[in-house]
C-alpha cells in the first residue's frame, strides 16, 4: 500500500514538473515590465538640449495638461519612422511633446531635427542615458503619456498610427 502511494506521489510530482516546464516553454523569455500607470513622474536634475541650462525634470511638466515624453536618438532607426507621427501630433494643442535625447551627439541630433522637423516643446539632453533610467526606460524609442504629474501610459518601442490614435482618444 505504502509502495503504491509512493509511486502515485512520484508520478504526480513528475506530472506537475512537466506541466510547469511545458507552460514555461510557451512563455516568452523577453521581460515585459509592468506598465507604470498612475505613477508619479521622476524628479531629477538634468540639462536642456539647446540652452544647456540645468533644470529639475519636474519643472517641464508643471501645467495641468497632457505631455508626451518621447525618448529618441538620431542613431535610432525606428525613431525616424515614428517622427512624422510626432510632427503630426504637434497640431493637437491639448498635448505638448517633450523630447529626451538619448546617448547622442549634439551635432547628429541637431541634423536629425533639421532634416525631419522638431516636434518637441523642450528637449532634455541625456548624454549618458541615466535620465532614461530614472524614467524606467529600456532604450529608444519609448514614450510616456503624462497628465497632472503622473505617467498614465507607457509605450515601449516606436509609436504607430494606432497608438497615436489611442493617445488622441486619451487626451480628448
Amino acid at each position: 500500500m505504502n509502495n503504491k502511494a509512493l509511486k502515485i506521489t512520484t508520478i504526480a510530482i513528475f506530472i506537475i514538473i512537466f506541466i510547469v516546464f511545458y507552460k514555461a516553454l510557451q512563455d516568452t523569455n523577453i521581460y515585459t515590465p509592468k506598465k507604470k500607470s498612475n505613477n508619479e513622474i521622476p524628479s531629477f536634475s538634468t540639462n536642456l538640449f539647446y540652452s544647456n541650462k540645468k533644470i529639475n525634470s519636474s519643472e517641464l511638466f508643471k501645467l495641468d495638461k497632457f505631455y508626451l515624453l518621447n525618448i529618441w536618438s538620431s542613431w535610432c532607426v525606428p525613431c525616424r519612422t515614428e517622427h512624422p507621427l510626432l510632427m503630426d501630433l504637434t497640431k493637437n494643442k491639448k498635448i505638448e511633446i517633450i523630447g529626451l535625447n538619448y546617448k547622442d551627439k549634439k551635432n547628429s541630433a541637431e541634423n536629425f531635427l533639421n532634416e525631419l522637423g522638431n516636434p518637441y516643446q523642450e528637449i532634455i539632453f541625456d548624454k549618458e542615458g541615466i535620465n532614461a533610467i530614472e524614467w524606467g526606460a529600456f532604450g529608444v524609442p519609448e514614450s510616456f503619456l503624462i497628465n497632472d504629474g503622473k505617467v498614465i501610459k507607457k509605450y515601449i518601442g516606436p509609436l504607430n498610427k494606432e497608438l497615436v490614435e489611442e493617445i488622441r482618444l486619451l487626451i480628448k
Binding site: 515590465p33 509592468k34 546617448k103 542615458g129 541615466i130 532614461a132 533610467i133 532604450g139
Partner: protein, 120 residues
C-alpha cells in the same frame, strides 16, 4: 627623516588605493546582481549594451553620492520591479521561490528516513 617621509607617501598611496578598490568592488558586486533587462541571461556587469552601460554609470554615480548597496537596489527595484535583481528578497511574491527548495528537501529527507526505518 627622508625614510619617514617616504614611508608616509607610500602609506597614503596604498590607503587611497584601497579606498578606490573598495568602491570598485562594491560597484562590481552591485552590477553583478543587477539583471540586464534587454539581454538574454546576462548581468549588467557582463553586458556591454547601451542599457547596461548606462546602469553602470548610474551605479557609480549613486555610490559617489553616498548611496548604500540596499538603497541602490531599492532605487532600481522602484524603476523596473523585483525582476531586476538576481538575488530577490523574501516577500509575498517570492516566498515560494525561497521556501520550495526547503520544503522539497524536508519531504525528500522524510522519505529517506522513512525508507531507512522500514529496511531496519
Amino acid at each position: 627623516m627622508k625614510i619617514l617621509k617616504l614611508f608616509f607617501i607610500i602609506f597614503f598611496i596604498f590607503y587611497f588605493n584601497h579606498l578606490g578598490a573598495n568602491t570598485d568592488d562594491m560597484k562590481i558586486k552591485i552590477t553583478k546582481n543587477l539583471r540586464c533587462l534587454i539581454c538574454q541571461g546576462q548581468s549588467v556587469y557582463d553586458s556591454d549594451s547601451e542599457f547596461a552601460n548606462s546602469m553602470k554609470v548610474l551605479v557609480d554615480k549613486k555610490l559617489n553620492e553616498g548611496f548604500s548597496e540596499k538603497q541602490i537596489y531599492n532605487f532600481f527595484k522602484e524603476k523596473y520591479g523585483e525582476w531586476i535583481l538576481y538575488d530577490p528578497e523574501l516577500n509575498k511574491n517570492t516566498y515560494i521561490l525561497w521556501l520550495l527548495p526547503i520544503l522539497i528537501f524536508l519531504i525528500g529527507g522524510a522519505i529517506v528516513i522513512k525508507n531507512f526505518k522500514i529496511r531496519k
